[in-house]
């Protein structure tokens, strides 16, 4: 497991932040095995999606990579070192899910971003000019500088997400873990987050995104790890994000729509499929009105 740490990638950047998940099994106290024999490798300059159904061990894997859980078997190493060592060097930055944050906490935006600098501060955690400068710069990079004195609960969903992105930036974490970054976020923020992640990739960060938004994955993730209690498939998005693999991971939980344009002018088969784990989709007929749950007689009475 250690030999990868000194190799150079194509840009000449050292592979120091290689993430190796090696035969990891995690069992909880009650005997439940949440993750079994999971193995995959990731290197710097990558955006990787982590997908799987609820209860597939996604968050267990996340917590193990962050060192919150210790594998009962196997190991997670970052640059050949145990996670706990990497954490002390501020390598791992983490962006929590919105539900995991107490938004009524008496801290403002700048306070939160400065928390990303704790690892660099002295024993008393008193920010130096340099820390303030980096925090300010991180805030302006996510367009949140003007809100720096706001209490965090007074922000919109997208703004809240940006604050925690800024904290990860301020931490200068080279491995960035995002837990469901697109939930409760508007389309504009979604695009801004993806743009920022692409920039971080160019700068040589390794980004791991746990997400439900399957449709977004191919648009910005180079690699995908698909899990269901174990790693079902891991590799480049194009080869791994296939109908077959997703079918194995999600079983019948995905909505599978076949759309067939039989009236295509050249007569060739034009069928394509839509896989979605979204909740009830809206389906419109050719006249632009709702189908499926359409009750014309009720509607007629209420429309005037």
């Amino acid at each position: 497991m250690l030999q990868g740490s000194k190799k150079l990638n194509k840009n000449g950047v050292s592979y120091e932040i290689d993430l190796h998940v090696n035969e990891v099994t995690v069992a909880y106290n009650n005997g439940h095995v949440a993750l079994f024999d999971a193995t995959f490798d990731l290197s710097a300059g990558t955006i990787c999606a982590l997908v799987g159904v609820n209860g597939s061990g996604k968050s267990t894997l996340f917590k193990t990579i962050m060192g919150f859980l210790t594998p009962t078997h196997g190991s997670v190493t970052i640059g050949g070192k145990p996670v706990q060592v990497a954490q002390k060097q501020n390598i791992v930055a983490y962006i929590p899910q919105a539900e995991d944050v107490d938004w009524a906490f008496p801290v403002n935006v700048l306070d939160v971003v400065l928390m990303g600098r704790y690892g660099y501060m002295n024993f008393l955690r008193i920010p130096r000019a340099n820390d303030l400068e980096i925090a300010t710069e991180s805030l302006s990079r996510v367009n949140m500088l003007e809100y720096k004195d706001r209490q965090i609960g007074e922000l919109s969903g997208g703004q809240k997400k940006r604050v925690f992105l800024a904290r990860a930036l301020a931490q200068r974490g080279r491995i960035v873990l995002l837990d469901e970054p697109f939930s409760g976020v508007d389309v504009q923020t979604e695009a801004a987050i993806i743009e920022l992640l692409r920039e971080l990739r160019t700068e040589g960060h390794l980004i791991l995104v746990s997400t439900h938004d399957l449709g977004l994955v191919p648009s910005f993730c180079d690699r995908v790890v698909i899990i269901n209690r174990t790693v079902l498939a891991a590799g480049p998005t194009h080869d791994t994000f296939t109908q077959e693999n997703l079918g194995r991971a999600f079983g019948g939980t995905l909505r599978d729509l076949r759309i067939d344009h039989t009236d295509a002018p050249d007569g060739t088969s034009n069928e394509f499929r839509v896989l979605s784990d979204d909740e009830e989709p809206l389906i419109f007929g050719h006249d632009g009105r709702l189908v499926d749950h359409w009750h014309p007689e009720v509607d007629e009475e209420e429309s005037e």
Binding site: D100, P106, V107, M115
Partner: protein, 300 residues
């Protein structure tokens, strides 16, 4: 008149009571900020009761009461941690079971082996009869607690706000958790003689809860809570002289009065301010013509 107001200061025991109450009130208030934000008020309640058997044992074998109390409090916290991780019982039920067991053991011991401590003193406190050696113990505990909070409050703040981030940057969260528990147990011990095991919980919650409604910055919250803790505790001890009533009762009632005033009149989060804001918004919408009058909202 002035002569009358100054009388408590002519008695050494009153001066001691006022000073000691003030110190302990301040330390408890500092801790109360973490207790309210971490949702640990039940834990504080539990620890303050769980120290009772420790006090009983310490008196029986002739050790300093603070030592026994502190050990007993930490043992209770440890037992809670073990029971919680090994069973499927919810945390509040675990806390409930463990602290009542400890408290019952303490009550039983005191009743079986009568010594010079009475259950009444432990449960209700007796700051006026406090011995000089106990004052030294309490001041020492307070000094240590103040020092630890003063040095480590930012780490404790991160631990309370986002334990995952604390761990992700390599802080030892197990140690921080233990540190906070130990601080809580220690201050509960210190406050035991001032207000007793039952009212300690008020001093460990009310100032923090009050200050929380006044500010959005944690540093300011600690300052406000501390100020409130010191002033209400000293004033409470002072007033109790004139009322000839329980010191703990006076202190906690004062704190409740401050809490209520803030609850209604806090500039941003008070009830009055919230209503005023709702009315203004409604009026603005009405003027803009965006909304129809809604009788229920108008009545606010």
């Amino acid at each position: 008149m002035i002569e009358l107001l100054l009388t408590p200061f002519y008695y050494e025991y009153m001066v001691k009571a006022i000073v000691v109450s003030g110190v302990i009130g301040g330390v408890c208030a500092l801790l109360s900020c973490f207790v309210t934000l971490k949702g640990w008020s039940l834990m504080g309640d539990a620890l303050s009761h769980a120290i009772v058997p420790g006090v009983a044992v310490a008196y029986l074998v002739g050790l300093p009461f603070a030592l026994g109390a502190f050990a007993s409090g930490l043992l209770a916290a440890l037992v809670m941690g073990v029971v919680k991780s090994k069973t499927r019982i919810r945390e509040d039920a675990v806390i409930g079971i463990v602290f009542t067991t400890f408290f019952a053991a303490g009550v039983l011991m005191i009743s079986l082996f009568p010594s010079n401590i009475s259950l009444k003193t432990i449960v209700l406190g007796n700051i006026l009869g406090i011995a000089d050696s106990d004052i030294i113990q309490m001041l020492a505990i307070s000094a240590v607690a103040l020092l630890v909070v003063g040095l480590k409050w930012k780490d404790l703040l991160l631990f309370a706000f986002d334990p995952n981030q604390a761990q992700a940057i390599g802080l030892n969260t197990t140690r921080l958790n233990l540190m906070l528990l130990a601080l809580l147990a220690a201050t509960a011990v210190a406050a035991l003689q001032a207000v007793g095991a039952v009212l300690v919980i008020a001093m460990l919650v009310t100032p923090g809860a009050t200050a929380y409604q006044l500010t959005d910055r944690f540093g300011r919250m600690m300052l406000l809570a501390c100020l409130m803790g010191v002033v209400t505790s000293m004033l409470g001890a002072y007033i109790s002289y004139f009322l000839n009533g329980s010191t703990g009762g006076c202190i906690v009632c004062l704190q409740t009065i401050v809490f209520l005033v803030v609850f209604f009149f806090a500039p941003k989060y008070g009830i009055v301010a919230a209503r005023r804001k709702a009315r203004r918004t409604t009026d603005a919408l009405l003027i803009a013509g965006d909304a129809q009058p809604v009788p229920a909202l108008r009545g606010l």
